[in-house]
């Protein structure tokens, strides 16, 4: 109830916005926690200020040699003002953590978009093939998972109206998800200082109705999907000579591999996910397999991060399509 009132006042406050629109499924729950913390802050600040002011006036020095009597310390008071803040902190911690925990895992049916940050622009790829620079088109009401990496320094992909952000780090994949609730055009920003044009590394999220999104996706130039682009690279770079589908090549068969666990020569077991495939492409000998000599060359420097994502999309497509003939 209180949250509702506060929200009604807060957005916008006498015509002046003090919070962004809430345009995702999680935004308003973050706002509610924010209101609670704001109320807590204002309450204690106000309480301390007024108490101080009151004491300052009531106990102002009246005579120059005044010597007030000593006041004994009160253990009860110390305990009270330790325990009550501790309980308020515990409450805030539990609320914030459970919200964070719930928001940390993308729903299974998420649509995926792949993001590569580089000084000083964002390249976004949809699996169907649409590619964008500094723009992200998504449909409303559908969970979207962003898988992100950087070509160079650490960036951060931040969408204030969804209340999400995550660092975008070279050498690894980070992911966040959101589900937009309102169509519209919203800012996204780079939120980790990355050099000269850091403040120019911004763009727009276009949340569209599902029909408009489908039109947008199929319109524009007829390009290849990410998996098709990956297949093309797979041949161009010579991967196909060792990774033969019928198992006669020098390298492991990739059909049906994605998502399965493999045991490395070191004894460790890893799941073949995006990070695994990326590592296999740029640093293959860091995780040799038991039955294969470590002779795969590294492709670091020969492919950029977007191309790595396309190759991964290709390998993923082998897993789903060829499941029946997997070794």
């Amino acid at each position: 109830m209180f949250n509702f009132i506060f929200a009604a006042i807060a957005d916008p406050w006498f015509g002046f916005p003090i919070k962004p629109e809430d345009a995702s499924t999680t935004a308003s729950s973050v706002d509610h926690l924010y209101y609670f913390l704001t109320a807590l802050t204002l309450f204690f600040t106000f309480a301390i200020f007024t108490t101080i002011f009151y004491f300052m006036v009531k106990y102002r020095r009246r005579m120059p040699d005044e010597r007030p009597k000593a006041i004994e310390t009160s253990t009860a008071l110390e305990v009270t003002w330790t325990v009550i803040p501790a309980m308020l902190c515990a409450f805030a911690f539990i609320w914030a953590s459970s919200l964070y925990f719930r928001n940390s895992r993308p729903p299974n049916a998420s649509m995926e978009v792949f993001v590569v940050g580089k000084q000083w622009m964002w390249h976004l790829q949809h699996p169907e093939g649409a590619r964008e620079i500094n723009e992200l088109h998504v449909p409303v009401g559908v969970p979207v998972k962003l898988t992100m990496t950087s070509e160079d320094v650490i960036h951060d992909f931040s969408i204030p109206v969804f209340r999400i952000k995550h660092d975008v780090i070279p050498g690894r994949y980070s992911s966040i998800w959101f589900q937009a609730t309102k169509t519209g055009t919203y800012h996204f920003f780079c939120a980790q200082y990355c050099g000269a044009e850091h403040s120019g590394m911004i763009g727009w999220v276009y949340v569209m109705s599902p029909t408009d999104y489908a039109n947008w996706l199929s319109g524009g130039s007829k390009g290849e999907s990410m998996a098709q682009a990956g297949e093309r690279l797979f041949t161009q770079l010579g991967c196909v000579t060792c990774h033969v589908a019928d198992g006669t090549g020098r390298g492991p068969v990739l059909q049906g591999l994605y998502g399965h666990p493999v045991k490395l020569r070191s004894g460790e077991t890893r799941v073949v996910d995006e990070a695994y495939i990326r590592q296999a492409i740029v640093n293959p000998n860091s995780m040799p397999l038991p039955n294969y000599p470590p002779i795969m060359p590294t492709f670091q420097g020969q492919v950029n991060e977007e191309q790595v994502l396309q190759l991964i999309a290709y390998v993923k497509s082998l897993g789903t399509v060829e499941k029946g003939t997997a070794k």
Binding site: N283, N285, S286
Partner: protein
């Protein structure tokens, strides 16, 4: 505090080396010791950052670290370990000599400590020269032979050598500083500045020297002995 005008009476009240911010020699001695211990704690944290990073990367890249470790000369490393432990012994004997007022023994053991320290640094220099020759110095000359790293992932071998050089060079720098401290202590001992009443500088120098020794005791197994060749 009453002013003592005659310098002789002053000397009688306070032994040589007394610093006037203190109330008496006992306070000065305790403060000096505590100061050195606090300083050594900061040194533990200083090296600690490197040890922590080493631990993280070793757990991530064990094959590369083991391969790198096998490229180090264990015999030289072990010799250096013995040399340093010996120098800690001679240092302890020097402190004992100072405590018991034996000036000649004090100078002898300080010099012996310095000789052993010099041996350590000499062996270290030799090791570094060999690494340079084999192209195993990251950033400056990294061109290792194929067989040398034995199919281990090159990146993590390079990481190992980053740590090898950073950690041993930082340690060697502390040794060189220790060498300088010992020189000063030897000169002061020669001049007869120490006595059973005032030998605190020898004692705290000893603490420093022992600390540098202990750091090596940790470095040696972590760098030289993880190759699994035993």
């Amino acid at each position: 505090m009453a002013e003592l005008s005659a310098s002789s009476t002053h000397a009688a009240v306070h032994p040589p080396g007394f610093r006037h911010q203190f109330e008496d020699m006992e306070q000065q001695h305790e403060a000096g010791n505590l100061g050195m211990w606090v300083f050594l704690v900061t040194e533990i944290l200083f090296f600690g950052g490197l040890f922590a990073s080493y631990a993280i990367y070793r757990s991530l890249y064990l094959p590369g670290f083991e391969a790198g470790s096998r490229l180090l000369d264990v015999k030289l490393g072990a010799t250096n370990t013995a040399v340093l432990i010996g120098s800690s012994l001679t240092m302890a004997l020097a402190v004992h000599a100072a405590q018991t007022g034996k000036r000649k023994a004090l100078i002898f053991f300080l010099l012996l400590t310095m000789v052993l320290g010099a041996v350590f640094l000499g062996i270290k220099f030799d090791e570094y020269a060999t690494k340079w020759h084999h192209g195993l110095v990251p950033g400056l000359k990294w061109a290792p032979d194929e067989e040398m790293h034995n199919n281990a992932p090159l990146g993590s071998v390079e990481l190992f050598f980053c740590f090898y050089f950073f950690m041993t060079a930082l340690h060697a720098t502390h040794m060189i500083i220790g060498f300088g401290i010992m020189t000063v202590m030897t000169v002061k001992s020669w001049r007869g500045e120490f006595s059973p009443e005032y030998y605190a500088p020898i004692e705290v120098s000893g603490l420093y020297w022992h600390f540098v020794d202990i750091v090596w005791i940790f470095l040696f197994p972590l760098l030289y002995l993880i190759g699994g060749r035993y």
